[in-house]
Structure formats: structure tokens, C-alpha cells
Subunit: 311 residues, 2 copies
């Protein structure tokens, strides 16, 4: 049996090759059993899907806008791509954390030998305690990386149920105590009404201090900009309430030219590239093939969207 897939609005070489290898045929929407939607949002999505479409695979890991728009029906299966990109984003989080501890923004801007200034203040990740705020797919992918780097992990999730690999797990209601106990924090939670401005002046002041020299910790955000009160963050970085930040996401995003964060030596900025494009295309193609095999086998798909509990 050859599975018939529609790919909209556009395809790419990774996806074409992956579908061909898997023995799937790319056909029009009216002839397909499944739709692979490669758009990053809902722009151009078909107003009405034909009845023959039994399954829709979305490209995004976060599908909150799809839920709120009411686009997702219960007539067929819908899958997100949650988990497909987690390893790459987790790697970027570690790169930002290491980069902040090793003072890479200051060093990258230098044009003279700063050793006398920075040898004493550069820090190592080893032995530090890192809070992972939002231990979903990306947060969990960070844990083995941090452990291999000799850091200990406090995971934070809604329930407080144990997360594998974390030294301790706490419920999100205990966030402030966690930040006090931790040296550094990585934000990897979803953007919801409850997580809007989750990190403000109080939380930044709570973030713990260095095990060796008592210097305050580092905040990394690879989740969504609106988890953080940007003004409070800017102030905390200017006043030394926290020692540094590694930021891939912003509120507002893009971060406007002229914003003070751009030129601060304790801020490492990347422009929402934690999930690099070429890797994203390849990882999505691999993910689709896995789900395609499960679909053909009549098994439960990866990342099926449950309208009753999705966020």
C-alpha cells in the first residue's frame, strides 16, 4: 500500500526525499489520506479540508494559535511536531548558558587581551545547579546535556511529578524557592496566560548565586519572549541583580534596534535561531516519516493533539 500525502503550501528537498524513501506518494489534497502542512502559521491553510484527509501533520511544535483559532477539528487526527526540534533547541540553550558563564559577549566584542580583567570572573558550568523552568520536551532534552557538563538540574513543571535525570522536581507554584536554590535558570516553558511575565523583578532577585564567588546567576530564555518582563530583565542586568543573560527570544520580538540589551556586555543575544533552518527542515522530514510509518501501521501517532489538554 502506498500512502497518499498532500504537502502544502510548499515542499522542500528534505521532505521530498524522505517521503520518497518511505514509499509515500505526493498527491493533491482531494486524493490524499493525509496533509503535511509545512507553513509556520495558518496563513493559506485550506478553509475546509476534504473528508478524505484522515490526518494533518503540522510543522510547529507550539500549536496554541491553532487551538485558539478553532481550526483543529475532531473529525480527523492532528499532530504537532512537538519533540522534533527539541534536541537542537536544547543545544542552543546550553550554548547560551556556557556562553554567558564564559563571558563570550564581552570577549567577542574585545579587540585587546582581556585576561587580566576576565580570568577571575569567568565561570564554569560544572557544579552549578540549573533550574529548568518548564520541563517539557525541550527542557527534558537539556537534562542529559547539563548532567554531562557536571551541572545538577532542578526541573520545574506544573505537577511537580519527578522528571527523569533531574536531581529534584518542583511544581511551578514553588518557582521562587527554586530560583533561590538554583544558580542559574533556563526558561523552556510554553507561552500561556499563566506564564505571561512569569519572570519579573521578584523572580530575578531570587535567582541564586555562584557556588565559588557568590556572584549572581544567569538567565537563559529559549522559550518565548513574553515569559519575561523585558523591562525588569534589562534593569536586573544593568544593576547586577543577575550576572548575565542568554536570550534567543524577546518581547517585543524582533528586539528593536536601539534597545539597551543590544549593547550590554553581560547579554548574549541570538535572533530566534535556536532551531536552525536546515536542521529544522531535516528534523521535520524525519519526524514526518516516523509518523507516516505509525499511521500506516494503524498505531498511535507521535504528538497527537488532544483538544482537551493542549497548550
Amino acid at each position: 500500500m502506498t500512502l497518499k500525502m498532500a504537502v502544502l503550501p510548499t515542499s522542500n528537498l528534505y521532505l521530498d526525499n524522505a517521503l520518497e524513501s518511505a514509499g509515500a506518494a505526493v498527491v493533491s489534497l482531494d486524493d490524499a489520506q493525509a496533509l503535511i502542512w509545512t507553513g509556520s502559521d495558518q496563513t493559506g491553510f485550506p478553509h475546509e479540508l476534504p473528508k478524505n484527509i484522515e490526518w494533518v501533520q503540522l510543522k510547529s511544535a507550539g500549536i496554541r494559535p491553532w487551538i485558539t483559532s478553532g481550526r483543529i477539528d475532531s473529525y480527523r487526527k492532528w499532530t504537532s511536531a512537538v519533540g522534533a526540534y527539541s534536541d537542537d533547541v536544547a543545544e542552543h540553550a546550553v550554548a547560551l548558558l556556557l556562553g554567558s558563564l564564559r563571558q563570550l559577549p564581552l570577549h567577542a566584542r574585545a579587540s585587546t587581551w582581556l585576561k587580566a580583567d576576565t580570568w577571575d570572573t569567568v565561570r564554569s558550568l560544572r557544579g552549578r545547579k540549573v533550574a529548568i523552568v518548564g520541563a517539557g520536551s525541550i527542557g527534558r532534552a537539556m537534562i542529559p546535556l547539563l548532567n554531562s557538563h557536571g551541572a545538577r538540574v532542578i526541573a520545574v513543571n506544573r505537577s511537580g511529578h519527578d522528571v527523569e535525570g533531574a536531581e529534584t522536581t518542583a511544581a511551578s507554584g514553588d518557582l521562587e524557592e527554586v530560583l533561590t536554590a538554583a544558580d542559574d535558570a533556563v526558561l523552556s516553558g510554553a507561552s500561556t496566560d499563566e506564564t505571561h511575565h512569569l519572570i519579573g523583578a521578584t523572580q530575578l532577585a531570587a535567582l541564586g548565586s555562584d557556588p565559588l564567588d557568590g556572584a549572581p546567576g544567569v538567565l537563559v530564555n529559549i522559550a518565548r519572549g513574553d515569559l519575561v518582563d523585558t523591562d525588569a530583565l534589562t534593569h536586573a542586568l544593568q544593576s547586577g541583580t543577575i550576572s548575565g543573560a542568554g536570550l534567543d527570544v524577546f518581547d517585543p520580538e524582533p528586539l528593536p534596534s536601539g534597545h539597551p540589551l543590544w549593547t550590554m556586555d553581560n547579554v548574549l543575544i541570538t535572533p530566534h535561531i535556536a532551531n536552525p533552518k536546515q536542521r529544522m527542515l531535516k528534523n521535520f522530514a524525519d519526524f514526518v516519516v516516523k509518523n507516516l510509518c505509525l499511521f500506516e501501521a494503524g498505531r498511535k501517532l507521535k504528538a497527537e493533539i488532544d483538544l482537551n489538554r493542549s497548550y
Copy 2:
């Protein structure tokens, strides 16, 4: 029994506390059984050691200058600190490699949103093949880190004997083939007559290309500057023969102000801070205590210097 130790030329809080915890007494050179030399070189080292000194613990991991000066005698045990700092230096190597792949120098210097330029060119460490040139203590400490990041390792050592955790191990005579097979290379070998300018134009041209987009690889040097021909490296970075470099050591060192490497967006420079000072002091103190326990127990010490094969 209380072990009597001399600490010269200076001590520090980490060492004082560690020796006190271990129950050792700090005494003068003439009364001591062992000397802990905390100097980073031989400046001020006693011209003649009294006979009562049975063991000398040096602070350096690389002890080549001590060998060539003829300072090390066979009357007593001498230990280096090789291994004491390896984890921290290995971490810095990973930070530089990730930082180069994630284009942190370019991003750190930006004051506008570069996503349209860099989302397509940023790379992930996952799936890459990394050559570790010089699989000594630091090189071996990198292997579990790279493996946890989803990279594969080709280790290079003198003998080509298998290194644990590496996918393959090659002898240093096969360096060029290794560089061709690898995507990126990290230099972690000792500075010797044979490794002087080990990496020149030919080796840089051999360094492999990206598994996804064919872009050339990244060179990281956390070993010694003179392993690399700096002019050849500068040219390779300017011409795109390699795509980036993460450098903590230089030849000449310090890297002179005005050198073209300072301002290149594909070069991530740190000023020989891979082994951060506070961590170094703590790690040395921990290392001394371990050796002190072994000495008291009459057992073989860690990092004993063998004049017949040391480098």
C-alpha cells in the same frame, strides 16, 4: 600522623582550607615532607631542596619547561597537576565549538535583528564528526560531552590505540585523513617539537565539510598557540577555507592588538581563560588532597612525572 607540607611561594584560601580539612600541617621547607609549589612557573623555586622533601607537587598540568630545565631530580617524587583542570578546559572547548557553530561572535557584535541573515547558516553540533587532535586528559574529558551533544568523535593520539568513547581512533601520522573525514577539529595536544605548527594551510584545507550544507568546518584550539600556523589560519578564515574558529590560545600570545583575527566575525576569541582562576584554585586544592591521601597511604600518586617519557 600529621603530614607536614610546605606551600610555596604563596598559598590561598582554597588550599589552606583543603589542607586543614585533610589534617595536614603547613610548615617551613626544612621541616616538611612534601612541597606544594603553587607558582605557575619556576620563578623563585628553591635552588636546592632539602633532603626531607620526599615529594613535590607542581601546579601546572604541562611540565615541559620543568623537564627541559633539568629541575626535576630522581631523588624524590614529583607530580604534575595533569588531569586536575581537564574538565573545565574541555567545557571551554565545547563552548567555543558551539559558539562557532551558532555564530556567536557575529551575533554578539550585532545591534540589529540578523535572523534573515543567520537562521539559514547557523549550525548544530548534533550529527557532526569532531576530530580530537591529542587525546590526552583534556581531549578524553571532551568525549562524553561531545557524545551527549550527539556528535561523534575521531580521537587522534600518537599510537592510534583505541580511546574510550571515540567512534574511531587514529594515529597522529594519519592526521590529514582524519581532518578530511571529520567535520570539525579540536586541538588538545601538548606543545612539543613534533606538534609545532601541526596545523598549517594543508591541514586547514583538509578539514571536512558540513553534513547538511557542505560548508567547511570549525577549528578550536584550547591547547597551545604554536600548534597552529597563525598566518595560515588567518588566511583560511579570511578565504572561507574553514568556516570559523574558536581560539583560547595564540602564537604569539597575547594576540597583539590590531591583529586581523580580533575583528573577524567568524572568529571567537577568549584570552587563555579556559581554566578559570577560581575553578583552578579549587580544582588544584582538591587534587592536592587526593594526592596527599595517596602519599600518606604509601600508594602511587596521581600524575607522577616519569622523566623517561614525560612531555
